[in-house]
Symmetry: D3
Subunit: 341 residues, 6 copies
C-alpha cells in the first residue's frame, strides 16, 4: 500500500509532542515529508529531531516540492483558516488543531470548500478518543441513558493562564479560555446530543484576574497585555429543548487548578465522565455504577488514526468539518452574547 | 412593651414545626393569637398543641375577632397573593412563605400595596440566616471577595419528588423544583449581587423522570398527575455583566439525593458555601481557607427575629417585598423562556 | 376478619424484643393470647409488660385454656422438636426459632407431621427479609447473575462467645457457632441455590479458644463448661456441581468481631451482600454496581408477616419446614464429618 | 571456589525475567553455561541478551557439550516430569518451575529419583521468600500463633485468563487456575502446617466465564479453545484436624482483579498475610499488630539462593522434592473430587 | 454494712454532674447526707434535685448537724486548702477536686495533716481510670515499655477560655490553663514515672490571646479581666534523668480545639495514649499495636470507687495526698520559673 | 564577570550529591577548581566524575596550587573548626556544612576571624530555602502571625541511626541526633524568633536504644561502639520570654520513622510548617488556611546561591557565622544541661 504523504505546518509544542509522534507510530500508513514553520531554523530542528526529510519556512514552496496528500495544521488560531483553505486548494486532506477558526464564517467556508473538493477536513478534539468517551458512546447506544436532555460541561483552571506563547493575544487566538479549553468539553457535549445546531445562546466573558495579575501556575503572565477572557460562561439551548451549561476558565477563584468534566443527564441514566460513573435505576433501586478497569489510552494516536481512516473513507469518529462549523458558530454566539451584540 | 399579636394562616408542617416554635421562643416580643386553616379541626388541633387561644376556618372571621398585628402565611403558593393582599388590607405586617407568589405581577402588586400601606411584607428565605451566609456577608464586607461576577447555584435532588401534598400540582404551586427548591439558592445568589434586576434570562424545564415514574426517596409519586417540572436550568445575566447559573431538580440522574450549594466567584476570592471554603491569594500564594468552628444555628428562629425587627423598624436582613418581586420576575422569565414565549 | 390467636412459648430475650413487638404491630391480623415459660413469674411479667392476657408455666394448660391458632417457639434448641410436635398435634401453625432442631431426623419428623396435618411450620431466618436479600432476589430474577455456582458464606465473631444463657451447653443447644450463627448465612446460601439437597459435605469444628478462655466481648464465659465448637468450617457440594464454603465462629483470631457476609458467584455477575455490590460486565466493561439508597427495614416484622401469609395460604418467602429439614441435614453432616463419623 | 555450572531449559518470560537475572546476581556461586529451547533462535537470542555462551534446541546435545551441575526448568507443566528425570539422570541438581508436574505419580517419581541419586530437586515457590512469610515464620517460632488449625488461602483474579501462551491448554498445563495460581498459596498454607499429608479433600472446578468469553484484563482469550478450569475451590483436612480452605480463579465475578492472601488461624493468634497483620491478645486486651517497616525483597533472588544453598548442603527453605510430591497429590485429589472420581 | 456518710461542699457543675451521680450509683457503700454551698438556694436546689436530705450555706453548721464520714470538695481552687484542713480536723476523709491547692506549701500541709490524722485525702484525677490508662499500666507491668525516660504531655485548647465562672480569676484559681488542664496530663505523666520528686523545672506562661480577646468556643471571655495564663509550657527533669515536656493552653493558634494526649517513651516500647497505640519491636520487626476493643468506662464512677476503697483501706489507684503535694510543687516551680523567680 | 573559584574539602556523599551539583548549575558565577579529601583516590574519582580539574589529599597543597576564592567544607564535624580557620587565613569565603562546630568556643572563634577578615562564613542549613519557610517568612512579614512566643520543633527518627560513616562516633561528630538532625529545626526556630541569644536552657540526652541495638532502618549499627545520644530533648527560653521546645532522635519508640516539623505560635496566628497550615482568625471566625500549590524547590541550589550572594555582598538569607555561633552555644548548653554541668 502506498503511504500517505503528510506535511506538518507549525513547529510548536503540539506538533512536536502530539502529532509527529502519533504519525510516526502509524508508519505503515503515513510518512511525514516536511515540516513548515515561519522560522526556518525551528522547522529544521524539528525535522532533524524526528528524522523528517524536508523543512520549509513557507507553505508555497512546501506544496511545490513535496506534494503532500495531507497536512497537519498546528499554528495560532488565526492561521487555521488561510492555511486550511490553501491546503484544500492543493487538494490535501487537512487535520487542523482546535478550535476550527476564529470566526463562524471562516469555519463555514472551510467546511464548504472541503465538501466541494471532496476532501477530509477534521479537527483534533482528542478527548473523543478517551476510554471514558468510548464507554459513554456504548452506554448511549445500549439505551442506558435514555434521552439526553441536559449537559453540564466545564473546563476550569484556577490560575492557568499560559505564561508563554500567544494565548493572551486576541488577534492571534480570537479569544481565551473558551477558545482554548471550553471548546474541548463543548465538542463532547455536542457529540452526546448528536451535534445539533443551537437554538438560543446566552453567555458572558470575564477578565478580572487576567487583567489584575497574581500567582501563575503555568508561568507568569503579563496583565498589561492580557486581551482575552479569563473565564466564559454560557447556556446553550437546542430545538429539541436539550441544553448545555458551559464554563471555561484560565483563572477563577475555585478549588482545583484543573477541573475538567461533563455531567450528562438522560431520562434513564446520568453520567459523570471523570471518573466515569453511571447513575441509574437497576432492579428497582437507585444504582451507581463504576468501571474500575477502564484503560488509559493514547488519545492522540487514536485521533490521528481516526483522521487517517476518514481520509481513506473508513468509518471514523473524528470531528468533521461540518461539526467544526457548528461548534464555531456557538463559540461566536457566546462571544457576541457577552458583548450584547 | 406591648406584644405583637400574630396569626398563623395555614395549618401544615411548616407552620407546626418552623413558624410556631420560633414565635414561641420569641414570647417577649410576640404572642400567637390564632391559627387559621381551611380545615377547622386541623386548625383547632394545632392551636391546642401549641397553646394558642383561637382557631378559625376563614380569615375573615379571624381578622374580625383577633385583630392581629402580623400574619404568617404558610399556605399553598397560589394563596400567597390573595392572603397577603387581604392581610395588608387589614393593616397587618406579613411574613409569607416562599416563593412570594405564582406570578411576577402578583409579587409586584403585593410589594406595591405593602409600600403604600407602610407595612412590612417579608418572605421566609431562612438560608440567609445560616452561619455560612453570615460569614459570606462578612467576607464580602471585609473585601475578601472583591467584585463578585459569577455565581453557580444549585439545589438538586436525585429522586426527591415529594410524595405527599400538592407539590406536583401546577395550579396550586405554580411550578415544581424551581418554585420549591431553586428559589432558595437563587435568593442567596441575588443577595450576593445586591439584588439587581436581571438583564437577560434563558432557561429550560424538564419532566422526563416525573412523568415516567420510578424509585421515590420522598415517598411514591404519581406520574399520571405530575404536572410540574422535575428539573429547571437557567442562566441569568445582569446589567453589570454579572451572571448566575441556576439548577434545581426534584429528580435528576445525579449522584447525591440532596446537593445544595453555591459557588460565588469574585475578583479577589471565591467561596464554596457548604462547607464554607474561601479560595484566594494570601502572602503571595494560592490559599484555601476553611472555618472549622462555624456554629450551627436555628435559622428559622433567626429569620423570624429578622422579620420582627423589620416590622419594628430595626435593621434586618429578611427578604423584603421588593426583593421578592425581583426574584419572582426572574422565576417567571425562566418559565417563559422554557416555553419559548 | 377474625384475628389469629397466637401463643408465645419461651420467655426470653428473643420473645420480648423480636416476636411480641412484631406481632403487636400486626394487630389487624393476630392477637397474642398467652405467654408460656417454664418460669411462671417470667411468663407473667412478660405478659404484663406487653398487655397479654394469660401466662402459663406449662404448654398443656395453655393449649387447654387458650386454643391458639398458632404458636411462636422461642426456647432452647433441644425443645424445638417436642414443642413443635406438640403444637402441631394441637393443630397449631408453628413459627419456630432457628435452628430447626438439634438433629436432622427431628427436623425431618417435624416437617412430615406439618405436611400430614396441612399446617404451616416455618423457621425464623429473618435475614431473608433484609433489603439486601430482596435486591439479590430481584437481581437473580432479572438474570443479572446468570447461573450461580459458588457461594462463600461466613458469620464470624472474634470473641463473641455469649457469656449468658445456655449457648455453650451442648445438650441444650446441640452445638455452638454453627448452630447459632452459621445457620443464618447457610440458609441464605441455600435460598440462592434453590435449596437443593446436598451431595457431599466435609467439615471441621474447633474449640481452642473456647476451652482456653480470654477476653470476652459478649461477657465472660467459662472455659471449664465450654462444650460446643467455637468455630466450624465446611465445604458443601450439590448435584449440579454448585458449592458453598461456610465459616462460622464464636471466637477466632480474625480482624472484626462481627463479620457476616455472603459472596455469591454467578456466570454473569457476582454479589457481595453487605454492603450490596454487584460485579458484572456492562457496555463491554467490568462494572461495579452499588445501590446507595437501600432502605433499612424491620426484618422481624417482615418475617412475621411472611409467616402469617404462609399460614393464610398467601405467597411467602418464609423458611419452610421442608427447607428447615434440608438445612438441618447439612448441619448434622458437618458435625459428623468433623467427628470423622 | 569453583562455580556451579547452570543450564536453562525453556526460553520464555520466566527464564528471561526471573531465573537468569537472579543467577547473574549470584555470579560468585554460579555461571550460566547454556540456554536450551525447542526454538533455537529464541535460545540464541536469550543467550546473547544475557551474555551466555551456548544455546541449544535439544537437551541431549546440551548435556553432552556443557556438562552442567544444575538445570533450571522453565517449560510448560507437562515437560517438568521428563526434563527433570533426564536432568537427574545426568546427575544434575534441578530447580523446576511450579507446579511440580501434571500428575501426583510424576511428582512422586521425580522425588524418588532425586532421593536415590542424592541430588537436590526443588520447586520455585518464591512467595516463601517474601518478608511477610519470613515474619510469619518468626511469629510462629516465637509462639505468637499457638497451634495453627485453620487456613483460608486464595489467589483470585477477576478477569485474568492469560491471553497468551498455553495457559488454557489442558494437555500442556494439566489444569488452569489451580495449577497456575492456587499452588502458590497452597504451598504456603502447607508450610504453615508443617507440610502434612492430607486426610480428606473435597473440591470443585468451574469454567463458566472461561467458556463464555468477555472482557480480558490479561489480553483476550479464546473461549472456544478454553479447556481448563477458570476457578477451583477446595477444602482439605489433615489428620490432626487442621484444615485449609482454598480458592483460585483466573476469572470470577469478584471485586479485585488480583486478590491473593492467606488468613492463618492459630489458638493464640491469627495472621492476615498481606498486609501482614497479627490479631491476638496482649496485656489482657484484643490487639491488632501491624509492621509498618517490612521491606520489599527480591523474592526470586532469595529463592534461587535458597536453591543453591540446598544444592551445597546448607540450610534452606526452598520447596523440596518431597513437599512438591505432597502438594501435587493434593492438587490431583482436588481435580478428581471435582470430577467425582 | 454501715454506709459511709458523705457531704458535698460546693454546688457547681462538677458536683451536680460528676460527684453526686457517682456517689448515688454507689449507694451500697455511701449515702450523701448534705450539700453545702455559699449560696443556700443553690445548695437547696441541688439537694432537692438529687434527693439529698440537708442543705447548708456554711460548713460549720453542716459538720455540727450531719457528722459526715467524708466530704467531697468542689469549690474554687483557693478554697481547697482551708476546706480540706477543716474537714480533716472534723475527722473526715476528703475527696478534693483538682488541682490540690494554689500553693505547694498548702498541698504539703494538707498531706501532712491527713497523714497525722490517719485519714484519706485524695484528689479527683479521673483520667487515671480510663481504659487507656489501665492498659498503659498493664503494659508497663508486663515489661512491654522497658524503662520510661521521656514523656510528652499536652492538653491544648485553641479557643477554650471558659466564658463562665472564675476560671480567669487568678486569686480564686491560682492560675489558668496549667492549673485547670495541664495538671490532668501532668498527673498521668508522673504516675508513669512512679511519681518522683522533680530535679529541675523550666517553664513559661503566656497570655497574648487571653488579654487580646477574640472568638470564644466556650463562650465569650472578657480580656480586660483576664488575669491568668492562656498557655503554659514546661520541661521537668528528674533525678534518674527522665523528663517531661508539658504543654497546656486555654487558647493557642493550633489546629484542634481539644487536643489532649501523652506520648510515653520507654526503652522497649512507646505509647501514644489516645487512641492507645504501642510502638515496639516484635519478632524482629518494628511493630505498631492497636487495641480495637478498648471499652469506654465511667471514669468518675471508677475514681469515686477508688476513693472509697482508699478510705476503707483497700488497694486503690486514686491520687494520694502525697502525690498531690509533689504535683503542686511542680506546678508552683513552673510558675516561678515563668516569673524568673 | 570573573568566576569565583571554589574548592571542595571533603569527598563524601554530601559533596557529591548536594554541593557539587548545585555549584555546577551556577556555572555563570562559580567554577570548581579542586576537590580535596584525606583519601586521594576518592578525591580524584569525585573530580573525574564531575569534570573538576584538580584533586588533592591535603589542603595545604590545594591552597598553594589553586588559590580558591571560596571553599565548601563537607567533612566530619570535628574538622569544621580547623579547616574553616585555615580557609579564612587563606582569605577564602567559607560555606561549611552543619553543625558549625563541636564546641561553642570554636564556632565563636570562627565567627570572630571571619568578621575580622571581612570574609563570608556561612553554614548550609538548606531548609531555610524551602517553599514552606519562604512562605512562613512572608506571613510573618505581613503580620499574619503577630508576636511569636513559642515554637515546638522536632526532628524524630524511629530507627534511623545511620549504619555507615562516623555518625555514632562522639569524638568526630561531637554528638548524635541533636548535632545531626536537631540543629536543622533549631536553626529555623531561631530564625523565626530573630536569632536571639538564649536565656535559660534545660535538656536531656538518652541512649537506651542506641546502646541496646535492634532493627535498623538506615542499615545496622553497632551498639557496642554507639557513643552519642540517640535522643535529645530541650527547652530553651529567651530574654523576651519566648521559648522553644526541641526534640531530636535517631531512635525513639514513636510512630513515624521520619517526623520533622515545626509549630510556630504567635499572638495572631500559628503555623504548622509541613504541610504548611496557618491557624488564625478571619472575618470573625477561626480559620485554617492551606496553600495547595506550594512548589517544591531545589533547596540546595537556592542555599548555595544565597551563599554566593553573601560572598558578593548581596542580600542573602544564608545562615551567618554569627548565627552559627549562637546556635552552637545553645547546642553546647543542652549537652551540658544533660550532663548536669
Amino acid at each position: 500500500m502506498t503511504l500517505l504523504r503528510a506535511a506538518i505546518i507549525g513547529g510548536g509544542h503540539i506538533a512536536d509532542s502530539n502529532h509527529i509522534p502519533a504519525l510516526k507510530q502509524l508508519s505503515d500508513r503515513v510518512v511525514i515529508v516536511a515540516v513548515c514553520s515561519r522560522d526556518l531554523e525551528k522547522a529544521r530542528a524539528l525535522a532533524d529531531k524526528h528524522g523528517i526529510a524536508d523543512a520549509f519556512d513557507n507553505t508555497h514552496e512546501m506544496y511545490r516540492q513535496c506534494t503532500p496528500d495531507l497536512v497537519i495544521i498546528c499554528t495560532p488560531n488565526n492561521l487555521h483558516y488561510p492555511q486550511t483553505m490553501e491546503a484544500l486548494e492543493h487538494n490535501c486532506h487537512v487535520f487542523c488543531e482546535k478550535p476550527p477558526a476564529i470566526s463562524a464564517q471562516n469555519a463555514r467556508d472551510m467546511a464548504n470548500l472541503a465538501a466541494q473538493k471532496g476532501l477530509t477536513l477534521a479537527y483534533n478534539f482528542q478527548l473523543r478518543q478517551s476510554s471514558e468517551w468510548a464507554l459513554l458512546t456504548r452506554c448511549q447506544a445500549d439505551g442506558l441513558l435514555g434521552d439526553i436532555y441536559h449537559i453540564k460541561a466545564h473546563f476550569l483552571r484556577r490560575r492557568g493562564i499560559p505564561g508563554w506563547g500567544y494565548f493572551t493575544n486576541k488577534e492571534m487566538q480570537g479569544g481565551g479560555a473558551l477558545m482554548d479549553l471550553g471548546v474541548h468539553v463543548l465538542d463532547l457535549a455536542l457529540c452526546a446530543l448528536g451535534y445539533p445546531t443551537p437554538d438560543q445562546v446566552l453567555g458572558n466573558t470575564y477578565d478580572f484576574i487576567g487583567k489584575t495579575g497574581g500567582k501563575g501556575l503555568l508561568g507568569d503572565w503579563n496583565p498589561q497585555t492580557f486581551e482575552v477572557e479569563d473565564a466564559a460562561m454560557a447556556y446553550i439551548t437546542f430545538p429539541n429543548r436539550a441544553s448545555i451549561m458551559l464554563s471555561a476558565s484560565f483563572a477563577l477563584n475555585t478549588q482545583a487548578d484543573k477541573d475538567r468534566n461533563l455531567e450528562i443527564f438522560g431520562s434513564k441514566g446520568g453520567v459523570k465522565l471523570f471518573p466515569f460513573t453511571l447513575h441509574t435505576e437497576l432492579a428497582g433501586e437507585l444504582a451507581d455504577i463504576q468501571f474500575p478497569y477502564l484503560e488509559e489510552t493514547d488519545i492522540q494516536l487514536k485521533n490521528t488514526t481516526a483522521f487517517l481512516d476518514a481520509c481513506q473513507g473508513k468509518p471514523s469518529n473524528v470531528c468533521t468539518a461540518e461539526q467544526g462549523a457548528i461548534l464555531q458558530e456557538i463559540v461566536e454566539r457566546i462571544y457576541k452574547s457577552a458583548e450584547r451584540l
